[in-house]
Symmetry: C2
Subunit: 369 residues, 2 copies
C-alpha cells in the first residue's frame, strides 16, 4: 500500500540482502521512521516494544529474526536460542509460534553453511505468502460488502473495525482492511468507523493513518461509542482481525473486541473476523485457554500524541500513584461471530466450519494440502 | 467528602451570600481550582464547558444560575430567559430541566423583591436535598455490597464503575459511589475497577481522584477492558450513574455504559444503576426517545494530561485532518439492568418497578408524596 504516494511494505530487506528494515509503528502517525534490524535481538526488541505489531507481521519479523541469527551463527544451538527468544516476546499471537515452527522446519537438515541464505529466502517466502493470503481474504470479504452495497444502492457501506488489522499489521493489504480496500478499489462506496483502541490507540494512529493514505472515508470514534452507533442502525458490518483463533472458533483479539461483538450480536449487525489460517491454533480446543498478555500499566496511565507545536509527547491522565490494569487481549466466544474470513473462503466460527475449509486438520482425517 | 483532608462540596455559596463557587472539574486531577460564578451566564458556561458535570450537580448549578439571574433582574422575563438559557446547555441530563422546573415553581407568585433571597434559599435546599438523596442511595446500595461481602469473607468486593457518578458529579457522596463509600466506611473491603471513560476520561481524572482521596482501593482500566475482567470472574458488581431514566427503566448514561451492561448480562454480573428520582423522566416512555448529545470532535482527537515537567497539555492522537464522531451518551435497555438504586430503595428497571417506589406517578393513581 502507499504512504505519501509511494508503495511500501511493513518489512523488507535492503537490495544487497542486509539489513532487514521495518516501519517503526510507534512513531506513526506523527512521523514515518524506518528502523534497521541487524541482529536477532533487534528483531526481538522490535516485537516486544511493538515497533512492529499485528499477528501476521509479528510472525514475519520473527522469521527474519531467525534469519539474522543464522547470519551470525548457523548452529543448531543458535537456532534453538533464537526461536526461544523470539517466541517469548508476545504470548498471545499464535502466528509468532507458527512462523518460528515454519522456520525450524525449513532449516532442518540444511547444512549450516547454507542456512543463512535459506533462512532469508524462507522468511521472504512467508512474507510473500502473507501478502497473497491477505489478497485472498480481501477477495472473499469483498463478497460480503458487495451484498450489503446491493441492498442500499448509492449509500456507503458502513464498516466498524477495532484496533489495526490493516496492512500495517501484515505485510500488505491487511486482514480486516483487505475487503475494505478491495471494495474501495472496485468503486463500492465504503465508510469505516475506526475504534481508537485504547490503550495504545492503534485505531487512531494506524488505521486512521492507512485509511487516509488510501483515500477511504472514515470516522474516528472512542471505543465506548460503537455500541451506540450499532443501536442507531448506522453500522452495516463489523470486521476485526485476530491474534489467535481456537479450534472451536473462539477469537482472541485486541482488548475490547468482545464488547463490540456483544453489541453487534445485540443489534443484529454481522460480525466477521478476518485471518490467515496461520492464526488458527488447532491445538487449542477453546478460547478459554488462550493466554492473555498483561502489558505495562504505563500504557493505560499515559497517552502519546502531538503537542500544539508539533512535538510528540506523552501525558499522564490519572492522579500520580494510580494503579492500572492492562490486559492486551480478550476472547470473543464463537457464538458471537457471524463468520471467519480466511484465505480459503468464509466459514462458520465452529469446529465443523473450520474443518470444512481446512480438512487436513481433521484428527485422523485425510490430509489435503 | 475530603480533598487533601479538608471537607468539600462541589458547589457552595460564600459565607456572605455571594458569589457561588465551584470546583473546576476540568482542572482535576492535576490541580484543585475553584471558580466563582457571579452571573447566570457564568453558570451556563460552567455547565456547557463542563467545569461542572454529572446530572445532579448540573441541576443544582442551574438552580444557582437562576438565583444569580434573579439577583440582577428578578422580573418574569428575566426568569424565563435564565431558564431557557440554562436548559439549552446540555440536552441529555433531565435533572437540569427538573431543577429549573423546581425553581420556576418555587418562585411563582413570589414578589420580585423577595425573589433573589428565595431563589438562593431554594437552590440551597436542592443542594441539601441532593446530599440527603445520595446518602439514602448509599444506604440502599450498601445492602447489595453487604450480601456479596458475606458470600466471600475476607475478600474484597470488586465493583466496576463507568465515568464519574461520584460525589464530584453530585454535591456530596455521589450516586454510584455512595454505596461504595458507605461500605468502605463500614469496614467492608471493596475494590473498584475504574473505567477511564474516553473521550473526557472522567474515570481516570475524577473517579480515580476521589477514590484515592477517600482511601478506597481501585484500579484504573481502559474502557475496552471491562468485558475481559467480567469474563475472568473478577467483577462482582457493576454500579453506574445515569443522566436520565425513562419511565420503562431504560437508562441513558455516559457513552460506553451500554457495552458494560451487555458484558455484565453475558457474564451474570449484577448491573445496578444509582440515581436520585429527579433523574427519572416520567414523560419519556422509553429510552429510544432520549436525545443523545453530540459533542465536539476535538474531545476525541485530543487527550489532556500532565507532561513529564508537570505542565498540563493536550496531545493530538490522530493524523491531522481526521474526522471524529463523539456521541456523549448511550442508552442501556432496561432488560440489561438488574436494578435501580434510588433514594427510596431498589426497584426493578420496569414501569411497575418504578411505580411501586413512586406511586404518585401512576397515571390517574393516588398521589403520595
Amino acid at each position: 500500500m502507499n504512504i505519501n504516494g509511494k508503495a511500501m511494505r511493513t518489512i523488507w530487506v535492503k537490495p544487497d540482502g542486509f539489513p532487514v528494515e521495518i516501519i517503526d509503528q510507534t512513531a506513526l502517525p506523527h512521523a514515518l521512521k524506518t528502523v534497521a534490524l541487524k541482529t536477532c535481538d533487534d528483531a526481538a526488541y522490535a516485537i516486544q516494544a511493538m515497533l512492529v505489531r499485528g499477528a501476521p507481521l509479528i510472525g514475519v519479523t520473527a522469521a527474519y529474526g531467525v534469519a539474522l541469527a543464522m547470519r551470525e551463527d548457523a548452529s543448531d544451538s543458535s537456532l534453538d536460542e533464537a526461536i526461544t527468544l523470539l517466541a517469548a516476546q508476545r504470548p498471545t499471537a499464535v502466528n509468532l509460534r507458527w512462523a518460528l515452527d515454519q522456520m525450524r522446519g525449513a532449516l532442518a537438515g540444511i547444512p549450516n553453511e547454507e542456512r543463512p541464505r535459506a533462512a532469508f529466502k524462507f522468511a521472504a517466502k512467508l512474507a510473500t505468502d502473507d501478502v497473497e493470503m491477505c489478497r485472498k481474504i480481501g477477495a472473499h470479504g469483498l463478497e460480503i460488502i458487495k451484498k450489503i452495497a446491493a441492498s442500499k444502492p448509492g449509500q456507503p457501506v458502513n464498516i466498524l473495525t477495532h484496533c489495526n488489522a490493516g496492512w500495517l499489521a501484515c505485510i500488505d493489504w491487511g486482514t480486516a482492511t483487505a475487503p475494505i480496500y478491495q471494495a474501495h478499489n472496485a468503486g463500492i462506496p465504503v465508510h469505516v468507523f475506526v475504534d481508537e483502541t485504547r490503550p495504545r490507540n492503534q485505531g487512531a494512529s494506524l488505521t486512521a493513518f492507512e485509511l487516509a493514505q488510501a483515500g477511504v472515508p472514515h470516522t474516528l470514534i472512542c471505543d465506548n461509542a460503537g455500541g451506540h452507533y450499532m443501536q442507531s442502525g448506522v453500522v452495516d458490518l463489523v470486521i476485526t482481525g485476530t491474534d489467535r483463533v481456537a479450534a472451536n472458533g473462539d477469537v482472541a483479539n485486541k482488548i475490547g473486541t468482545y464488547l463490540k461483538a456483544l453489541a453487534a450480536f445485540d443489534n443484529d449487525v454481522p460480525f466477521y473476523v478476518a485471518l490467515p489460517s496461520s492464526t488458527i491454533d488447532w491445538t487449542m480446543p477453546s478460547g478459554k485457554d488462550i493466554p492473555i498478555e498483561e502489558r505495562s500499566a504505563d500504557e493505560v496511565l499515559h497517552v502519546a500524541g502531538r503537542l500544539a507545536n508539533g512535538q510528540v509527547a506523552s501525558v499522564a491522565i490519572a492522579p500520580p500513584g494510580t494503579k492500572a490494569g492492562n490486559p492486551a487481549f480478550d476472547m470473543t466466544p464463537a457464538r458471537l461471530v457471524t463468520g471467519l474470513i480466511t484465505e480459503r473462503g468464509i466459514c462458520n466460527a465452529t469446529p465443523d466450519g473450520l474443518l470444512t475449509l481446512y480438512p487436513e486438520h481433521r484428527s485422523g482425517g485425510s490430509a489435503v494440502a
